[in-house]
Symmetry: C2
Subunit: 216 residues, 2 copies
């Protein structure tokens, strides 16, 4: 009975890592769709979004069954509650990848990102990718050294977003209002992706050290 | 022992309703700060945000204690898990009110919302207010008739956001890039406030009817 219980707990952690990796791929694909104005990839992300949501619901249901049938206490209980919170983070990250893909699709055959801004968006996407990769590692291996690196990347994301807004507002913008608004929202989406990765990491740090995470 | 247990459960529901009402006031205040370029009110919302976060953490901690000590099953367990999810919604709604207030404060002595757009933002804020009021009612009284009305208001919010974007993009915009970008983000913040109210309601509908909520 206890063996089965720990198997169930381990499986939930494994599923969290797998889902995080899947969402990471969706985010990367959504960036490709965005920069290359690629409808096929955009629609792949949008369609996959539904399957990812269903997988998240399925893991959540399983976590609730463990809660109901095994009645875990102390650390085990906190672990399952943390898993439920992380599933909510993953659900939002998946939704954000879908948002990015919908912006990409709406602007085809153009890219929603003018050429001069592509390096900034590419950097934001690259930081988000690295943050999500670290979140997966932290969830899977409780690698707390990665958590500190993640906070540094979160600051880098803030800087990139500030750069993006500076370019939009410095008076030399030549790409029209629609591109500016899309970019303002895209900046927000990538920033939120980073926030969710940080949230996931902080939940694990809290589990391991008992120190309260600082919320965004 | 069981009496105390139900008292604890009831108190968590009461606290959810109180917190929802508190967050509703923050959202209303943030709109006032925004439309009237009022630094004092903006800072009141920003300061209150920290206290609201602390209250949310305190209720969450109490819900975890009930989970750990009373080991609820079936409906009671689902109720506490739903409460944890709703606390996460309230945390985000509070953060969004703070975001709106920070936009307001940054643009003082001007309002971030040009006069011609004030009716649209006022309508979005009014719909958000009504949605949060209904969410509180649904959580407090399990008033499922309000849930249907809430979905209608969610559609109204989508329409208002589309109106806002049409005005920004119809080529006649005269208020500059900063105002346009602020409005694009403000539109997103009010829309997300509505989404969270809908999420809260759907959690209650699911608890009562057992029907799976449709996610945003």
């Amino acid at each position: 009975m206890r063996d089965q219980y720990y198997e169930q707990l381990d499986r939930i952690v494994d599923d969290l890592v797998t889902l995080t990796t899947t969402v990471r791929r969706s985010v990367a694909d959504s960036t490709t769709a965005l920069l290359h104005a690629d409808t096929t990839i955009a629609e792949k992300v949008i369609d996959a979004g539904r399957d990812i949501d269903a997988s998240i619901d399925e893991v959540e249901e399983r976590a609730l069954v463990v809660l109901a049938t095994q009645q875990p206490v102390a650390t085990d209980l906190r672990q399952i509650v943390a898993a439920l919170r992380m599933l909510a983070d993953l659900q939002r990250m998946n939704a954000l990848a879908v948002h990015v893909s919908k912006v990409a699709r709406r602007r085809v055959p153009e890219s929603a990102v003018p050429l001069t801004i592509q390096p900034t968006i590419r950097s934001m996407a690259s930081v988000a990718d690295s943050m999500i990769e670290k979140a997966a590692r932290i969830v899977g291996n409780r690698d707390l050294t990665a958590a500190a690196a993640l906070e540094v990347e979160d600051d880098e994301m803030d800087r990139l977003r500030a750069d993006l807004f500076r370019v939009l507002l410095d008076g030399s913008w030549e790409h029209g209002m629609e591109a500016a608004i899309d970019l303002a929202l895209l900046g927000r989406y990538y920033e939120r992706l980073g926030d969710h990765a940080v949230n996931m990491a902080r939940r694990v740090v809290f589990l391991v050290t008992g120190e309260l995470p600082v919320t965004n």
